[in-house]
């Protein structure tokens, strides 16, 4: 016969075992539901604004007519030029005519603005971002040139083999104003086409005509104003989860709650990983939304982020981003693109970021290694053709230095702008 006390003990034991199982489960998977963006938007609808904020050109160039051009580096100038694009191009309409690559290249000889996206962006991305149906005669947009005038004509390149000219008729716009505003005092550049260098370069590579006129602010990795590392780190983990902090040599810090891990390198880099929970497959637009929402939420002080590319992998998608700071792109020696997010099973399973933010060092550097020197140096590094040759910031070993970025058919070399080292 079982006594009352033994029965009570048995009940208590069963209760404790059950409690232990339940608590272990919550410790493993967290008290709350996973972060909205990590569950394919099931918990919360991601705003289309998240997408529209990152669907931007990587470069906007002002063409003054003839051989004179300049890239827009200041943020306010970039924003107003981007607004003009949206109000002219996304309004739709107009008559389209197929043109040649040569016609497209020649359009940069007129007073106009050139918008260069990092990759051929599918129209479906823009439609998802803008919440309306825009149906141009191309499926993707890579480069667009909008000519100045009251009846603006614009040229589109789909990034593959299609070039079209769109005639809109009268449409009030501010393209000429933007061209005129930039005409005074901007350092001038000529394209490789203007200079006749197209036997070894893409026609639209910009070469500074007077490098002595150009100075670049010196920057370093740093936290944005009003941010602290603890709150930034805690944002990666669910509230209520137990996060362990592990110090590694030579000063890197790892945070983990068992399922998620965050490594903050001593040089400022950040790597986040999370094991997948579900097996829900999402489409590419949703993957970009999830990834962009994650980046916006967890790296709020990193600057102007734009989409640099999306690749479909066996388990999901790899989404890459560009960062503009002081008008220049920031790249990473270790990662290439400054932010890379992996989406698997409809959630973020990995993010690599060059740093969490930037700070200006209140000094400037000039161009000690000219564009042609950079070509000679990259020639020794194996490049024979230059698809891209542009000024950028390169983050490497805790430092951010001004550099030339030379790209040929996927091979990328960085040339230090001060000492010419590869």
């Amino acid at each position: 016969m079982i006594s009352m006390s033994e029965r009570a003990k048995s009940i208590l034991l069963v209760f404790l075992v059950t409690l232990s199982i339940v608590l272990s489960f919550f410790m493993r998977y967290g008290m709350a539901r996973p972060y909205a963006s990590s569950s394919a938007g099931e918990d919360r609808e991601i705003s289309p604004a998240v997408l529209s904020n990152i669907l931007r050109p990587e470069d906007i160039i002002v063409n003054f007519g003839g051989m004179d051009h300049t890239p827009i580096l200041d943020d306010s100038g970039y924003e107003s030029a981007w607004r003009e694009f949206q109000s002219i191009v996304f309004l739709g309409g107009g008559n389209s005519t197929a043109v040649t690559e040569s016609d497209f290249a020649d359009a940069m000889d007129y007073r106009s603005l050139t918008y260069k996206f990092a990759f051929p962006v599918p129209i479906s991305y823009f439609n998802a971002a803008n919440g309306k149906q825009y149906n141009p005669p191309v499926n993707t947009i890579k480069d667009v040139i909008i000519l100045s005038g009251n009846s603006p004509t614009y040229y589109m390149y789909d990034g593959f083999d299609k070039y079209v000219r769109m005639n809109l008729g009268y449409r009030n716009n501010g393209i000429e104003t933007i061209v005129s505003v930039n005409e005074e005092g901007s350092p001038l550049y000529s394209t490789a086409k203007d200079l006749g260098f197209t036997d070894s370069m893409s026609y639209d590579v910009l070469m500074p005509l007077d490098p002595k006129d150009i100075t670049l602010p010196v920057i370093a990795p740093g936290l944005a104003d009003g941010m602290d590392m603890n709150s930034l780190v805690s944002g990666f983990f669910d509230s209520g989860s137990m996060v362990r902090k592990i110090r590694e040599m030579p000063g890197d810090t790892v945070y983990t709650d068992g399922r998620k891990g965050l490594k903050v390198y001593v040089d400022g880099r950040l790597e986040y990983t999370c094991s997948a929970l579900s097996s829900a497959r999402v489409d590419d637009v949703t993957a970009v939304k999830i990834a962009s929402d994650f980046v916006t939420k967890h790296l709020p002080g990193i600057g102007n982020v734009s989409l640099a590319g999306v690749d479909e992998e066996r388990d999901g998608y790899v989404v890459r981003y560009n960062i503009r700071y002081n008008g220049l792109h920031v790249y990473s020696r270790q990662y290439g693109f400054p932010i890379t997010v992996e989406i698997s099973d409809g959630q973020v399973t990995s993010m690599k970021a060059v740093c969490v933010g930037f700070s200006n060092e209140n000094t400037e550097t000039d161009i000690k290694v000219a564009a042609l020197d950079a070509m000679d140096i990259s020639f020794k590094g194996g490049l024979r053709h230059w698809d891209t040759l542009g000024m950028c910031y390169l983050a490497d070993d805790g430092e951010i230095r001004a550099a030339w970025r030379a790209v040929d058919n996927g091979k990328t070399l960085y040339i230090d702008m001060e000492n010419g080292k590869l």
Partner: protein, 135 residues
């Protein structure tokens, strides 16, 4: 027969006097890409081209050096030509590689903007209006 022989000799003399046949060992070092105009209406213009790998290049405007680039692997060169004075301006581009030298001389006439009626026949790109010398 004498006339034909004389004609052949004349043709051979003409060929020998052209730069391409002046010396069988000479190499063209400079290839100009820019259409630097014979007539300019502003004080600024630009010049670009390519020299053979390893050749240095120097550009002088009215005998003053405005651009110098040591021999490189790719050979491109470009520079703005600023401060053109009214009237004639001499642009001299010199490339050197070892013992070889090539000089291209161009004349840019800067005119005021209101004299366009007189320049139509003078607007010849520098590529067609140069003298080329080899040493």
């Amino acid at each position: 027969m004498k006339k034909i022989s004389l004609l052949l000799v004349l043709i051979m003399l003409l060929m020998a006097s052209s730069p391409a046949f002046a010396d069988g060992t000479e190499t063209q070092l400079i290839q100009l890409y820019s259409d630097l105009p014979a007539v300019a209406y502003t004080s600024t213009s630009a010049i670009s081209g390519r020299v053979v790998a390893g050749a240095s290049v120097e550009v002088k405007l009215n005998n003053a050096e405005i651009y110098k680039r040591p021999g490189g692997a790719v050979g491109y060169f470009y520079t703005t030509v600023k401060d053109l004075k009214m009237g004639g301006n001499t642009v001299v581009i010199t490339a050197k590689k070892g013992s070889q030298t090539q000089t291209i001389t161009g004349l840019i006439t800067r005119r005021s903007g209101d004299t366009t009626n007189s320049v139509e026949t003078l607007d010849i790109p520098i590529k067609n209006a140069i003298s080329i010398s080899f040493k």
